[in-house]
């Protein structure tokens, strides 16, 4: 099936006017598959790290949300060890008026504001609630080991 015009437009705009701290490059052989890297936001435990993600636009995008997964290991209450992300706009709150760029911005914001009350990685969330400074230290440590640019 031919690539919908909307995906072509979005890709062109992502390349022409990239969002600061976010890169998304489509694969040559599959234009629905993107290699994404997100810089950890400043003043967060992920500052200084560059996190790799994969993003796939399903057949009925934009009626269904893109599928996104962290490839870099990350210590975060809303991201599990397989890299899956717990974010409402990627599931029930998806709207076809959202785009790749807005979704990636939401993920960057999630790095800056972890939400242990809606956890995906239960053990991490537990620790985030009970010992926040310790959890943040571990997140910082993981960022240095796994997400060094």
């Amino acid at each position: 099936m031919a690539l919908p015009k909307r995906i072509i437009k979005e890709t062109e705009r992502l390349v022409a006017e990239p969002v600061p701290g976010i890169q998304a490059v489509p694969h040559d052989d599959n234009l629905r598959y993107f290699d994404v890297s997100i810089h950890g936001p400043a003043q967060s435990p992920y500052e200084g790290g560059v996190f790799k993600l994969e993003l796939f636009l399903p057949e009925d995008y934009p009626m269904t949300p893109p599928k996104i997964r962290f490839l870099t290991k990350i210590y975060h209450p809303n991201i599990d060890r397989l890299g899956r992300i717990c974010l409402d706009v990627l599931k029930a709150n998806w709207s076809p008026a959202l785009q790749i760029r807005t979704i990636l911005l939401s993920i960057q914001a999630l790095l800056g504001a972890p939400n242990p009350d809606d956890p995906l990685a239960n053990d991490v969330a537990q620790r985030w609630k009970e010992d926040e400074p310790g959890a943040i230290a571990t997140a910082r440590e993981w960022t240095q080991t796994h997400a060094a640019p």
Partner: protein, 395 residues
């Protein structure tokens, strides 16, 4: 010419969403869903504008406005003001047959009729009666290219359209080799291409880095003293080994990713101590034991994710059930209120009836008693009362 053309409309369909525009249109005229200038614009109750097709598709999945997430129904969507429709329909677009050579640009509302009736590059049915072939409109008035003619050389049937192509492979014709310019019959040419002594080819070890290339007849001499060719067997072996190792490494890495950290971390530093643990354990254990643990770990991992999934499902079911109970309760409440209202109504009627009847009786009695005093007017009143009471009873 004109009548024959108009009778031959193009069947080519135009996808309005795939059109290219002469100038990039204002962002205010773009549909928030397909990001193209609006097609059949419609407006929601919350005053957002979409393509008719886009919002219908979106409402099939979720009954909310894609822009502000307010609840939205199919009935809340009405055609947008005519002015918006006119604005997008007047945008200038390029003909969809631009790649075939059409240079026309026109307003969007005209593009379909342009392709159907005018575009020289649109595909139309072949002019010959009974022929199902398709041609571009500019060639439609020439003779039919789909009928079969006889090849002058092999006497086989060939479509006129394909005759040039056929000459290149007709078994009775000969073509020249591109390299040695000798002439061969078409069937033999392919075989000759593999051995033509004049063709320039790369050294057999070019993929290992030899940059030499020469004519086939002279390559043998190079092969005898090429270092890369001499090393080929060993290089080949190494490449294969690297490939198998890479595969193996990948598999192992996947397994490891699943296992580390295999347990919830008890302390912040356990990430490092954990890997020490597993390596010392690894040294102690026999490979069989390791396999077994791997197996157990992955099993554990799988069970864990299963339980998590089930938990989520149970929670979801709970919520659903609550919702159902809640809405059911609401419905019953409403019904009860309705019934109560009905009963109240009945009670009022009954009261009124009883009061009426009572009044009628007392009025009748009073009238009887007072007839001598009040005369006919009170009697008339009494009759009227009892009349209306009788009427209600009849009802």
């Amino acid at each position: 010419m004109a009548p024959s053309r108009s009778s031959r409309n193009s069947l080519q369909s135009v996808d309005l969403r795939a059109l290219d525009y002469l100038t990039s249109p204002s962002a205010n005229l773009l549909c928030p869903i397909c990001h193209a200038p609006l097609i059949t614009p419609v407006q929601t109750r919350c005053l957002h504008t979409f393509c008719s097709a886009c919002i219908s598709l979106s409402l099939e999945r979720s009954l909310t406005c894609p822009v502000d997430r307010k609840p939205l129904n199919h009935d809340d969507v009405t055609p947008a003001p005519i002015m918006i429709a006119n604005l997008v329909n007047d945008l200038m677009v390029l003909c969809p047959n631009r790649e075939k050579g059409c240079t026309t640009s026109c307003a969007r509302w005209l593009v379909e009729s342009h392709v159907r009736e005018d575009c020289e590059y649109a595909t139309v049915k072949c002019a010959k009666e009974g022929c199902d072939g398709l041609v571009e409109r500019r060639e439609a008035d020439r003779e039919c290219v789909h009928e079969e003619v006889e090849c002058a050389f092999c006497e086989g049937p060939v479509r006129k359209l394909d005759i040039e192509l056929h000459y290149g492979e007709c078994p009775k014709l000969s073509s020249d080799c591109r390299h040695c310019s000798k002439s061969f019959l078409n069937p033999e040419l392919a075989a000759h291409k593999l051995i033509c002594p004049d063709e320039v080819i790369d050294c057999a070890a070019s993929h290992f880095g030899c940059s030499h290339s020469s004519r086939r007849s002279e390559l043998d001499e190079h092969l005898t003293h090429c270092h890369f060719v001499a090393l080929t067997p060993i290089l080949q072996l190494h490449t294969e080994r690297i490939e198998t190792l890479e595969l193996e490494n990948k598999a192992i890495r996947q397994k490891l990713d699943l296992l580390v950290p295999p347990r919830p971390l008890p302390t912040p530093l356990s990430g490092t101590s954990n890997s020490n643990d597993s390596s010392s354990l690894g040294r102690d254990m026999t490979s069989e034991m390791q396999d077994y643990t791997y197996h157990l770990y992955s099993e554990y991992e799988q069970l864990r994710s299963d339980v998590e999934r089930l938990n989520a499902q149970v929670r979801e079911l709970d919520v659903k059930q609550d919702m159902v109970r809640f809405s059911e309760g609401l419905r019953y409440n409403e019904e009860m209120a309705g019934v109560r209202a009905a009963i109240n109504g009945l009670r009022m009627q009954l009261h009124w009836l009883v009061a009426n009847r009572r009044e009628g009786v007392t009025a009748g009695a009073g009238a009887g008693a007072a007839r001598s005093v009040a005369g006919s007017s009170a009697g008339g009143d009494g009759r009227r009362m009892s009349d209306s009471a009788r009427q209600v009873v009849k009802l």
